[in-house]
Symmetry: C2
Subunit: 268 residues, 2 copies
């Protein structure tokens, strides 16, 4: 049905109590990109949050393929939303979760962002359930005016001197030819995974805790996500990273990722 | 309309991103109890979270009174839910919030709970936005099996050695005739406020940080809330508080609170 007609009853526990999670994937060249991994993550979030997942993958693919055809568009994004269902007492989840599969336009990312890089600001925060793609984005929404006022595109969460992730994407940095990314207190992105696989043949790779000070010592910083792909971060809190331009190694990974999505035939 | 017919569209940002808050008040003897204070708190939550509140109190009272009449019941509870409205891009709130006013049955609290007291367990946790009555109850919902397995009725949140609050109610303790309650990192309850006002004429009252160790030194512990009123806590993590029975001072405050709600004429 049209999104404008889709509704949930007001006793949905995702609405009343925030007991809900989601995932978000997309197509490239009309083909789903790594959707098995996105669905695995969605199921993993559900298991961690304790929401039943009585849906077969094959059935979900069929629904998504049908919705894709109905849009008439080559490339679309899918938002999969799972809630704890309709509650009868206002606080106890149902045994029957509610699943929504919503198609969305893929957000435009201006091409110059990839060549100029984006600015971000830091925020002293750690997501409550970082391994779960829960629907709790209140912190980001409350920060939106501060982000805009700073001329930034996003926020980088740091807590007690450690970097975790951006609001909706993962963080990477280069020290020379060594690629570093946080390994804990993060949502493990599918693009993050793809980049790590691509990078392992080219760079030394370290998945480990990343201290905030390392940001200022890095030769390159970038973020990965389903929408942002491989996006150079050139300024943090108004301070340029290295020479303030997208780095050579970052652009190499972006090019490789673009090749991967253009072909969708490379097995990784 | 009947609750079963009430719905929100699926692009409500309360559902998609948890950007929503609520309040919950009730009637006694057919009359609203301190609803001005509940509404003030609701508006304060909205201001802190940055959700516009373009509703006049008098109009809200009218709607609530009308709903109350339609239920045909003497006493009911009201759930007021405010979300950031329908989002067009999946993450930016609307300028037009969504407000739901829902009537609910007042949950039964077995009378013996007041005479026997309840058991609770502690959890190492602090709510993200403790001064806001946000819809984020994921922690409680994820803990529900552990609470039940422990024979407990609720969870008491503690963090880094400090006590804050229960999942949906405030904490008090007595050291002899001195009443103590946390003053920060909590949702300031309306029942908490009423009890503080009642207690000030009888006991020494301290609003200050409360260390976890104090729980085990207390002569009485209790919790206050719109549903629980003044509820003795007799066991925490399986360990009895003092002699494991509701305390004399707690029962005195419960009696005074019951008098207050029975009359609804005492100005406090």
């Amino acid at each position: 049905m049209p999104v404008e007609k889709g509704h949930l009853l007001i006793n949905d526990i995702g609405l009343l109590r925030g007991y809900a999670l989601f995932d978000y994937c997309r197509t490239y060249g009309g083909k789903p990109f790594m959707r098995e991994l996105y669905l695995q993550r969605f199921q993993h979030s559900a298991a961690l949050m304790g929401i039943p997942f009585p849906f077969e993958s094959a059935v979900l693919w069929q629904i998504m393929d049908k919705l894709h055809r109905l849009t008439g568009m080559q490339d679309i994004a899918f938002r999969l939303l799972l809630t704890g269902g309709y509650t009868t007492d206002g606080v106890t989840p149902s045994n029957t979760p509610n699943l929504l599969i919503i198609t969305e336009d893929i957000p435009d990312v201006a091409p110059e962002k990839f060549t100029m890089g984006i600015h971000v600001i830091t925020d002293e925060y750690l997501r409550e359930l970082p391994e779960i793609k829960s629907t709790n984005y209140v912190r980001l929404i409350m920060l939106r005016h501060r982000i805009k006022a700073a001329g930034a595109a996003d926020v980088l969460f740091c807590k007690d001197g450690w970097v975790s992730e951006l609001s909706r994407s993962n963080l990477f940095l280069f020290h020379g030819n060594t690629l570093v990314t946080p390994n804990a207190n993060i949502l493990k992105g599918i693009t993050r995974y793809a980049i790590l696989q691509l990078a392992k043949g080219i760079f030394k790779v370290e998945e480990r805790p990343v201290a905030v000070e390392e940001l200022w010592q890095a030769s390159e910083v970038f973020t990965t996500g389903t929408t942002k792909r491989v996006m150079p971060i050139t300024v943090i809190n108004g301070q340029p990273i290295a020479d303030g331009k997208p780095g050579h190694n970052t652009l190499k990974l972006l090019a490789q990722f673009n090749e991967l999505t253009a072909s969708l035939s490379v097995a990784i």
